[in-house]
Symmetry: C2
Subunit: 225 residues, 2 copies
Protein backbone atom coordinates (compact mmCIF):
# COMPACT_ATOMS: atom_id res chain seq x y z
CA UNK A 1 0.00 0.00 0.00
CA UNK A 2 2.97 2.27 -0.33
CA UNK A 3 1.94 5.58 -1.85
CA UNK A 4 -1.79 4.82 -1.62
CA UNK A 5 -3.80 6.54 1.07
CA UNK A 6 -7.48 6.87 1.69
CA UNK A 7 -9.19 9.03 4.29
CA UNK A 8 -9.56 6.02 6.60
CA UNK A 9 -5.83 5.43 6.51
CA UNK A 10 -4.85 8.99 7.23
CA UNK A 11 -3.53 8.07 10.66
CA UNK A 12 -1.43 5.15 9.42
CA UNK A 13 2.34 5.49 9.71
CA UNK A 14 3.97 7.17 6.73
CA UNK A 15 5.74 4.31 4.94
CA UNK A 16 8.50 6.74 4.00
CA UNK A 17 9.33 7.07 7.70
CA UNK A 18 10.28 3.61 8.91
CA UNK A 19 9.46 2.59 12.46
CA UNK A 20 12.47 2.39 14.70
CA UNK A 21 13.91 -1.12 14.47
CA UNK A 22 12.41 -3.37 17.14
CA UNK A 23 14.74 -4.11 20.00
CA UNK A 24 16.65 -7.36 19.91
CA UNK A 25 16.47 -9.66 22.96
CA UNK A 26 20.02 -8.57 23.84
CA UNK A 27 19.06 -4.91 23.69
CA UNK A 28 16.03 -5.63 25.87
CA UNK A 29 18.19 -7.48 28.38
CA UNK A 30 16.79 -11.00 27.93
CA UNK A 31 18.99 -13.50 29.68
CA UNK A 32 19.85 -15.74 32.57
CA UNK A 33 22.41 -16.01 35.32
CA UNK A 34 22.80 -19.42 36.92
CA UNK A 35 24.98 -21.28 39.37
CA UNK A 36 25.26 -25.04 39.00
CA UNK A 37 26.25 -26.74 42.27
CA UNK A 38 27.33 -30.36 42.16
CA UNK A 39 27.44 -32.20 45.49
CA UNK A 40 30.35 -34.41 44.46
CA UNK A 41 34.11 -34.18 44.82
CA UNK A 42 34.36 -34.59 41.03
CA UNK A 43 32.35 -31.39 40.53
CA UNK A 44 34.89 -29.59 38.33
CA UNK A 45 34.77 -32.22 35.60
CA UNK A 46 30.98 -32.55 35.80
CA UNK A 47 30.34 -28.79 35.58
CA UNK A 48 32.91 -28.07 32.88
CA UNK A 49 31.72 -31.09 30.89
CA UNK A 50 28.11 -29.95 31.02
CA UNK A 51 29.01 -26.40 29.99
CA UNK A 52 31.15 -27.65 27.11
CA UNK A 53 28.47 -30.02 25.80
CA UNK A 54 25.62 -27.48 25.70
CA UNK A 55 24.75 -25.77 22.41
CA UNK A 56 25.90 -22.11 22.57
CA UNK A 57 24.47 -21.02 19.21
CA UNK A 58 22.93 -17.58 19.18
CA UNK A 59 24.04 -16.80 22.73
CA UNK A 60 26.45 -14.54 24.56
CA UNK A 61 28.02 -16.54 27.39
CA UNK A 62 30.28 -15.55 30.27
CA UNK A 63 31.24 -17.89 33.11
CA UNK A 64 32.97 -16.41 36.14
CA UNK A 65 33.82 -17.62 39.64
CA UNK A 66 30.21 -17.39 40.89
CA UNK A 67 27.88 -18.02 37.96
CA UNK A 68 27.30 -18.20 34.21
CA UNK A 69 25.62 -15.37 32.31
CA UNK A 70 23.60 -16.24 29.19
CA UNK A 71 22.05 -13.65 26.87
CA UNK A 72 19.97 -14.14 23.75
CA UNK A 73 16.42 -14.94 22.71
CA UNK A 74 14.20 -16.56 25.33
CA UNK A 75 14.03 -19.97 23.64
CA UNK A 76 17.81 -20.24 23.26
CA UNK A 77 18.57 -18.95 26.76
CA UNK A 78 16.26 -21.39 28.48
CA UNK A 79 17.27 -24.30 26.22
CA UNK A 80 20.92 -23.65 27.11
CA UNK A 81 20.23 -23.70 30.86
CA UNK A 82 18.25 -26.91 30.36
CA UNK A 83 21.14 -28.47 28.38
CA UNK A 84 23.70 -27.65 31.07
CA UNK A 85 21.64 -28.80 34.04
CA UNK A 86 20.39 -31.96 32.31
CA UNK A 87 23.91 -32.77 31.14
CA UNK A 88 25.29 -32.50 34.66
CA UNK A 89 22.35 -34.48 36.04
CA UNK A 90 23.20 -37.40 33.78
CA UNK A 91 26.41 -37.87 35.81
CA UNK A 92 24.09 -39.18 38.51
CA UNK A 93 25.45 -36.72 41.06
CA UNK A 94 23.10 -34.79 43.31
CA UNK A 95 23.05 -31.18 42.16
CA UNK A 96 21.18 -27.95 42.58
CA UNK A 97 20.92 -25.04 40.19
CA UNK A 98 20.14 -21.49 41.23
CA UNK A 99 18.68 -19.83 38.13
CA UNK A 100 17.71 -16.19 37.55
CA UNK A 101 15.90 -15.18 34.36
CA UNK A 102 15.58 -11.46 33.60
CA UNK A 103 13.92 -9.30 30.93
CA UNK A 104 13.67 -5.55 30.53
CA UNK A 105 16.68 -4.29 32.46
CA UNK A 106 19.83 -4.62 30.33
CA UNK A 107 23.15 -3.26 31.49
CA UNK A 108 25.26 -3.85 34.54
CA UNK A 109 25.43 -1.12 37.16
CA UNK A 110 22.29 0.58 35.83
CA UNK A 111 19.38 -0.39 33.62
CA UNK A 112 20.16 0.84 30.13
CA UNK A 113 16.43 1.11 29.42
CA UNK A 114 14.55 3.75 31.39
CA UNK A 115 11.49 2.68 33.42
CA UNK A 116 8.36 2.88 31.30
CA UNK A 117 9.90 1.48 28.12
CA UNK A 118 7.23 -0.43 26.23
CA UNK A 119 7.20 -4.09 27.22
CA UNK A 120 8.58 -6.38 24.48
CA UNK A 121 6.49 -9.48 23.86
CA UNK A 122 8.07 -12.83 23.07
CA UNK A 123 6.79 -16.25 22.11
CA UNK A 124 6.55 -18.92 24.80
CA UNK A 125 9.42 -21.39 24.92
CA UNK A 126 9.01 -25.06 24.11
CA UNK A 127 11.43 -27.61 25.56
CA UNK A 128 11.78 -31.32 24.90
CA UNK A 129 11.48 -33.67 27.86
CA UNK A 130 14.84 -34.77 29.24
CA UNK A 131 13.96 -37.76 31.42
CA UNK A 132 15.53 -35.88 34.34
CA UNK A 133 13.18 -35.46 37.30
CA UNK A 134 13.46 -32.07 38.96
CA UNK A 135 11.96 -30.46 42.05
CA UNK A 136 12.18 -26.71 42.39
CA UNK A 137 11.32 -23.69 44.44
CA UNK A 138 10.17 -20.92 42.15
CA UNK A 139 9.54 -17.19 42.68
CA UNK A 140 8.35 -14.62 40.13
CA UNK A 141 8.95 -10.88 40.51
CA UNK A 142 7.08 -8.36 38.31
CA UNK A 143 9.06 -5.18 39.05
CA UNK A 144 6.43 -2.51 38.68
CA UNK A 145 6.89 1.19 39.12
CA UNK A 146 4.37 2.94 41.32
CA UNK A 147 3.88 5.60 38.65
CA UNK A 148 3.22 3.11 35.84
CA UNK A 149 0.06 3.72 33.89
CA UNK A 150 -2.85 1.34 34.42
CA UNK A 151 -2.59 0.42 30.77
CA UNK A 152 0.98 -0.79 31.01
CA UNK A 153 0.93 -2.81 34.19
CA UNK A 154 -1.44 -4.35 36.68
CA UNK A 155 -1.93 -2.36 39.87
CA UNK A 156 -1.12 -5.27 42.17
CA UNK A 157 2.18 -7.11 41.77
CA UNK A 158 0.70 -10.26 43.30
CA UNK A 159 -2.05 -10.66 40.67
CA UNK A 160 0.26 -11.93 37.88
CA UNK A 161 2.02 -14.17 40.42
CA UNK A 162 -1.27 -15.81 41.41
CA UNK A 163 -2.18 -16.21 37.73
CA UNK A 164 1.17 -17.88 37.04
CA UNK A 165 0.63 -20.32 39.91
CA UNK A 166 -2.78 -21.22 38.44
CA UNK A 167 -1.13 -21.91 35.07
CA UNK A 168 1.50 -24.09 36.77
CA UNK A 169 -1.35 -26.12 38.27
CA UNK A 170 -2.97 -26.49 34.85
CA UNK A 171 0.36 -27.60 33.37
CA UNK A 172 0.70 -30.34 35.98
CA UNK A 173 4.03 -29.30 37.49
CA UNK A 174 2.70 -27.44 40.54
CA UNK A 175 3.37 -29.45 43.68
CA UNK A 176 2.58 -27.04 46.50
CA UNK A 177 3.43 -23.67 47.93
CA UNK A 178 6.02 -23.03 50.60
CA UNK A 179 6.82 -19.69 52.19
CA UNK A 180 8.26 -17.34 49.54
CA UNK A 181 8.24 -19.94 46.77
CA UNK A 182 6.06 -22.27 44.76
CA UNK A 183 7.12 -25.92 44.50
CA UNK A 184 7.35 -27.39 41.01
CA UNK A 185 7.96 -31.08 40.34
CA UNK A 186 8.32 -32.81 37.00
CA UNK A 187 10.62 -33.33 34.08
CA UNK A 188 13.34 -30.68 34.22
CA UNK A 189 12.12 -29.36 30.86
CA UNK A 190 8.55 -28.97 32.12
CA UNK A 191 9.72 -27.20 35.27
CA UNK A 192 11.86 -24.72 33.34
CA UNK A 193 9.19 -24.25 30.67
CA UNK A 194 6.51 -23.38 33.23
CA UNK A 195 8.74 -20.86 35.00
CA UNK A 196 10.02 -19.33 31.76
CA UNK A 197 6.58 -18.99 30.20
CA UNK A 198 5.22 -17.26 33.29
CA UNK A 199 8.20 -14.87 33.11
CA UNK A 200 7.55 -14.24 29.40
CA UNK A 201 3.81 -13.92 29.94
CA UNK A 202 4.08 -11.28 32.66
CA UNK A 203 6.70 -9.59 30.51
CA UNK A 204 4.07 -8.79 27.88
CA UNK A 205 2.73 -6.11 30.21
CA UNK A 206 5.55 -5.40 32.65
CA UNK A 207 8.92 -4.17 31.40
CA UNK A 208 11.21 -5.55 34.10
CA UNK A 209 10.42 -9.10 35.20
CA UNK A 210 12.75 -11.45 37.04
CA UNK A 211 12.18 -15.03 38.10
CA UNK A 212 14.31 -17.21 40.37
CA UNK A 213 14.39 -21.00 40.57
CA UNK A 214 16.29 -23.30 42.87
CA UNK A 215 16.21 -26.69 41.16
CA UNK A 216 17.19 -29.92 42.89
CA UNK A 217 18.06 -33.07 40.92
CA UNK A 218 19.13 -36.54 42.07
CA UNK A 219 18.52 -35.66 45.71
CA UNK A 220 18.80 -38.53 48.18
CA UNK A 221 16.24 -36.76 50.41
CA UNK A 222 12.73 -38.15 50.36
CA UNK A 223 10.25 -36.11 48.37
CA UNK A 224 8.21 -33.92 50.66
CA UNK A 225 4.53 -34.27 49.91
CA UNK B 1 1.25 11.82 80.74
CA UNK B 2 -1.78 9.62 81.19
CA UNK B 3 -4.84 11.68 81.96
CA UNK B 4 -3.13 15.01 81.30
CA UNK B 5 -3.94 16.82 78.08
CA UNK B 6 -3.28 20.30 76.84
CA UNK B 7 -4.70 21.93 73.71
CA UNK B 8 -1.46 21.12 71.84
CA UNK B 9 -1.86 17.46 72.61
CA UNK B 10 -5.46 17.23 71.56
CA UNK B 11 -4.57 15.09 68.55
CA UNK B 12 -2.49 12.60 70.55
CA UNK B 13 -3.86 9.08 70.81
CA UNK B 14 -6.23 8.55 73.70
CA UNK B 15 -4.24 6.42 76.16
CA UNK B 16 -7.47 4.68 77.14
CA UNK B 17 -7.69 3.28 73.57
CA UNK B 18 -4.55 1.21 73.01
CA UNK B 19 -3.09 1.06 69.53
CA UNK B 20 -3.51 -2.29 67.85
CA UNK B 21 -0.55 -4.48 68.87
CA UNK B 22 2.30 -4.03 66.40
CA UNK B 23 2.83 -6.97 64.10
CA UNK B 24 5.50 -9.47 65.06
CA UNK B 25 8.20 -10.33 62.48
CA UNK B 26 6.46 -13.67 61.95
CA UNK B 27 3.11 -11.98 61.29
CA UNK B 28 4.82 -9.61 58.85
CA UNK B 29 6.50 -12.54 57.08
CA UNK B 30 10.13 -11.81 57.94
CA UNK B 31 12.31 -14.73 57.01
CA UNK B 32 14.69 -16.54 54.73
CA UNK B 33 14.76 -19.56 52.50
CA UNK B 34 18.19 -20.90 51.61
CA UNK B 35 19.85 -23.80 49.88
CA UNK B 36 23.35 -24.76 50.96
CA UNK B 37 25.23 -26.64 48.25
CA UNK B 38 28.47 -28.40 49.17
CA UNK B 39 30.70 -29.47 46.29
CA UNK B 40 32.01 -32.53 48.09
CA UNK B 41 30.99 -36.17 48.26
CA UNK B 42 30.78 -35.79 52.05
CA UNK B 43 28.07 -33.14 51.67
CA UNK B 44 25.44 -34.81 53.84
CA UNK B 45 27.61 -34.74 56.97
CA UNK B 46 28.81 -31.19 56.29
CA UNK B 47 25.30 -29.78 55.72
CA UNK B 48 23.62 -31.64 58.58
CA UNK B 49 26.51 -30.73 60.90
CA UNK B 50 26.27 -27.04 60.04
CA UNK B 51 22.49 -27.02 60.52
CA UNK B 52 22.78 -28.81 63.88
CA UNK B 53 25.48 -26.45 65.20
CA UNK B 54 23.67 -23.18 64.41
CA UNK B 55 21.74 -21.42 67.17
CA UNK B 56 17.98 -21.80 66.50
CA UNK B 57 16.76 -19.61 69.37
CA UNK B 58 13.78 -17.43 68.56
CA UNK B 59 13.31 -18.98 65.12
CA UNK B 60 10.85 -21.18 63.28
CA UNK B 61 12.86 -23.61 61.11
CA UNK B 62 11.79 -26.11 58.46
CA UNK B 63 14.25 -28.01 56.27
CA UNK B 64 12.89 -29.95 53.33
CA UNK B 65 14.38 -31.64 50.25
CA UNK B 66 15.13 -28.34 48.48
CA UNK B 67 15.85 -25.69 51.09
CA UNK B 68 15.61 -24.49 54.68
CA UNK B 69 12.98 -21.96 55.76
CA UNK B 70 13.82 -19.62 58.67
CA UNK B 71 11.33 -17.19 60.23
CA UNK B 72 11.85 -14.72 63.05
CA UNK B 73 13.25 -11.27 63.69
CA UNK B 74 15.70 -9.94 61.09
CA UNK B 75 18.78 -10.16 63.34
CA UNK B 76 18.12 -13.78 64.30
CA UNK B 77 17.20 -14.88 60.78
CA UNK B 78 20.35 -13.47 59.22
CA UNK B 79 22.60 -14.60 62.10
CA UNK B 80 21.26 -18.14 61.64
CA UNK B 81 22.00 -18.16 57.91
CA UNK B 82 25.48 -16.82 58.70
CA UNK B 83 26.04 -19.56 61.32
CA UNK B 84 25.05 -22.34 58.93
CA UNK B 85 27.07 -21.13 55.94
CA UNK B 86 30.14 -20.24 58.02
CA UNK B 87 29.96 -23.56 59.81
CA UNK B 88 29.88 -25.49 56.55
CA UNK B 89 32.66 -23.30 55.14
CA UNK B 90 34.96 -24.30 57.99
CA UNK B 91 34.96 -27.84 56.56
CA UNK B 92 37.16 -26.37 53.84
CA UNK B 93 34.85 -27.65 51.11
CA UNK B 94 33.84 -25.40 48.22
CA UNK B 95 30.23 -24.42 48.69
CA UNK B 96 27.61 -22.05 47.42
CA UNK B 97 24.52 -20.81 49.17
CA UNK B 98 21.42 -19.53 47.41
CA UNK B 99 19.69 -17.23 49.91
CA UNK B 100 16.32 -15.48 49.67
CA UNK B 101 15.30 -12.95 52.32
CA UNK B 102 11.67 -11.75 52.34
CA UNK B 103 9.58 -9.25 54.31
CA UNK B 104 5.97 -8.17 53.97
CA UNK B 105 4.35 -11.18 52.29
CA UNK B 106 3.65 -13.89 54.89
CA UNK B 107 1.75 -17.04 54.00
CA UNK B 108 2.28 -19.73 51.45
CA UNK B 109 0.01 -19.82 48.43
CA UNK B 110 -1.11 -16.22 48.96
CA UNK B 111 0.16 -13.20 50.85
CA UNK B 112 -1.73 -13.07 54.14
CA UNK B 113 -1.22 -9.29 54.22
CA UNK B 114 -3.06 -7.30 51.57
CA UNK B 115 -1.04 -4.96 49.33
CA UNK B 116 -0.82 -1.52 50.89
CA UNK B 117 -0.29 -2.71 54.47
CA UNK B 118 1.88 -0.16 56.27
CA UNK B 119 5.57 -1.05 55.97
CA UNK B 120 7.05 -2.33 59.25
CA UNK B 121 10.42 -0.82 60.12
CA UNK B 122 13.18 -2.88 61.74
CA UNK B 123 16.62 -2.14 63.10
CA UNK B 124 19.63 -2.94 60.95
CA UNK B 125 21.38 -6.22 61.68
CA UNK B 126 24.89 -6.41 63.08
CA UNK B 127 26.99 -9.52 62.48
CA UNK B 128 30.40 -10.48 63.86
CA UNK B 129 33.16 -11.19 61.38
CA UNK B 130 33.66 -14.90 60.70
CA UNK B 131 37.05 -15.04 59.00
CA UNK B 132 35.29 -16.71 56.05
CA UNK B 133 35.86 -14.91 52.75
CA UNK B 134 32.78 -14.80 50.55
CA UNK B 135 32.03 -13.60 47.05
CA UNK B 136 28.42 -13.12 46.07
CA UNK B 137 25.99 -12.06 43.39
CA UNK B 138 23.26 -9.98 44.97
CA UNK B 139 19.88 -8.73 43.67
CA UNK B 140 17.31 -6.60 45.52
CA UNK B 141 13.63 -6.51 44.55
CA UNK B 142 11.32 -3.80 45.94
CA UNK B 143 7.91 -5.21 44.94
CA UNK B 144 5.86 -2.09 44.40
CA UNK B 145 2.25 -1.89 43.36
CA UNK B 146 1.44 0.44 40.52
CA UNK B 147 -1.38 1.94 42.54
CA UNK B 148 0.77 2.63 45.62
CA UNK B 149 0.59 6.14 46.94
CA UNK B 150 3.59 8.41 46.40
CA UNK B 151 3.94 8.64 50.17
CA UNK B 152 4.30 4.93 50.69
CA UNK B 153 6.79 3.99 48.00
CA UNK B 154 9.13 5.51 45.49
CA UNK B 155 7.79 5.75 41.97
CA UNK B 156 10.76 3.99 40.40
CA UNK B 157 11.71 0.53 41.63
CA UNK B 158 15.31 1.07 40.50
CA UNK B 159 15.94 4.11 42.75
CA UNK B 160 16.22 2.14 46.01
CA UNK B 161 18.35 -0.46 44.22
CA UNK B 162 20.82 2.19 43.07
CA UNK B 163 20.88 3.67 46.60
CA UNK B 164 21.61 0.24 48.07
CA UNK B 165 24.51 -0.24 45.64
CA UNK B 166 25.94 3.11 46.74
CA UNK B 167 25.74 2.00 50.37
CA UNK B 168 27.50 -1.27 49.50
CA UNK B 169 30.31 0.79 48.00
CA UNK B 170 30.55 2.91 51.17
CA UNK B 171 30.63 -0.27 53.27
CA UNK B 172 33.58 -1.60 51.28
CA UNK B 173 32.05 -4.88 50.11
CA UNK B 174 30.99 -3.79 46.61
CA UNK B 175 33.24 -5.40 44.04
CA UNK B 176 31.52 -4.69 40.73
CA UNK B 177 28.28 -5.09 38.85
CA UNK B 178 27.45 -7.93 36.51
CA UNK B 179 24.29 -8.32 34.48
CA UNK B 180 21.31 -8.76 36.82
CA UNK B 181 23.43 -8.77 40.00
CA UNK B 182 25.88 -6.76 42.06
CA UNK B 183 29.10 -8.47 43.13
CA UNK B 184 29.95 -8.35 46.81
CA UNK B 185 33.29 -9.54 48.22
CA UNK B 186 34.40 -9.62 51.85
CA UNK B 187 33.93 -11.43 55.11
CA UNK B 188 30.78 -13.54 54.90
CA UNK B 189 29.31 -11.48 57.76
CA UNK B 190 29.91 -8.20 55.94
CA UNK B 191 28.40 -9.55 52.71
CA UNK B 192 25.25 -10.76 54.47
CA UNK B 193 25.01 -7.61 56.59
CA UNK B 194 25.16 -5.33 53.55
CA UNK B 195 22.49 -7.27 51.70
CA UNK B 196 20.25 -7.62 54.76
CA UNK B 197 20.46 -3.97 55.71
CA UNK B 198 19.56 -2.87 52.19
CA UNK B 199 16.56 -5.22 52.34
CA UNK B 200 15.55 -3.82 55.75
CA UNK B 201 16.19 -0.24 54.63
CA UNK B 202 13.99 -0.47 51.54
CA UNK B 203 11.45 -2.26 53.71
CA UNK B 204 10.91 0.91 55.74
CA UNK B 205 8.95 2.30 52.81
CA UNK B 206 7.98 -0.70 50.70
CA UNK B 207 5.84 -3.48 52.17
CA UNK B 208 7.04 -6.45 50.13
CA UNK B 209 10.81 -6.60 49.59
CA UNK B 210 12.82 -9.66 48.58
CA UNK B 211 16.55 -10.00 48.11
CA UNK B 212 18.49 -12.91 46.61
CA UNK B 213 22.14 -13.76 47.12
CA UNK B 214 24.28 -16.48 45.57
CA UNK B 215 27.31 -16.77 47.84
CA UNK B 216 30.45 -18.67 46.89
CA UNK B 217 33.01 -19.78 49.50
CA UNK B 218 36.27 -21.73 49.17
CA UNK B 219 36.07 -21.60 45.38
CA UNK B 220 39.12 -22.89 43.53
CA UNK B 221 38.32 -20.46 40.67
CA UNK B 222 40.46 -17.36 40.48
CA UNK B 223 38.75 -14.22 41.69
CA UNK B 224 37.45 -12.24 38.76
CA UNK B 225 38.53 -8.64 39.00
Amino acid sequence: MVGVTTPNEAAAPDPAVPDPAPMTPQQYGVGARFTLSVYDSDYVAIILGALAAADPSGLTLETNDISTFVAGAEQRVVAYVLDVVAGAARSGAHLSASILLSRGCPGELQCALPPGTAALAADPVSLEATGVRARAHWSLYPLLDAAASPDSAPADHMAPIYAAIERAKAEGVYSGSDHYATRLDGDLAAVLQTAANAWIGVGRRVQHVVTHLTVSVNSPSPIRD
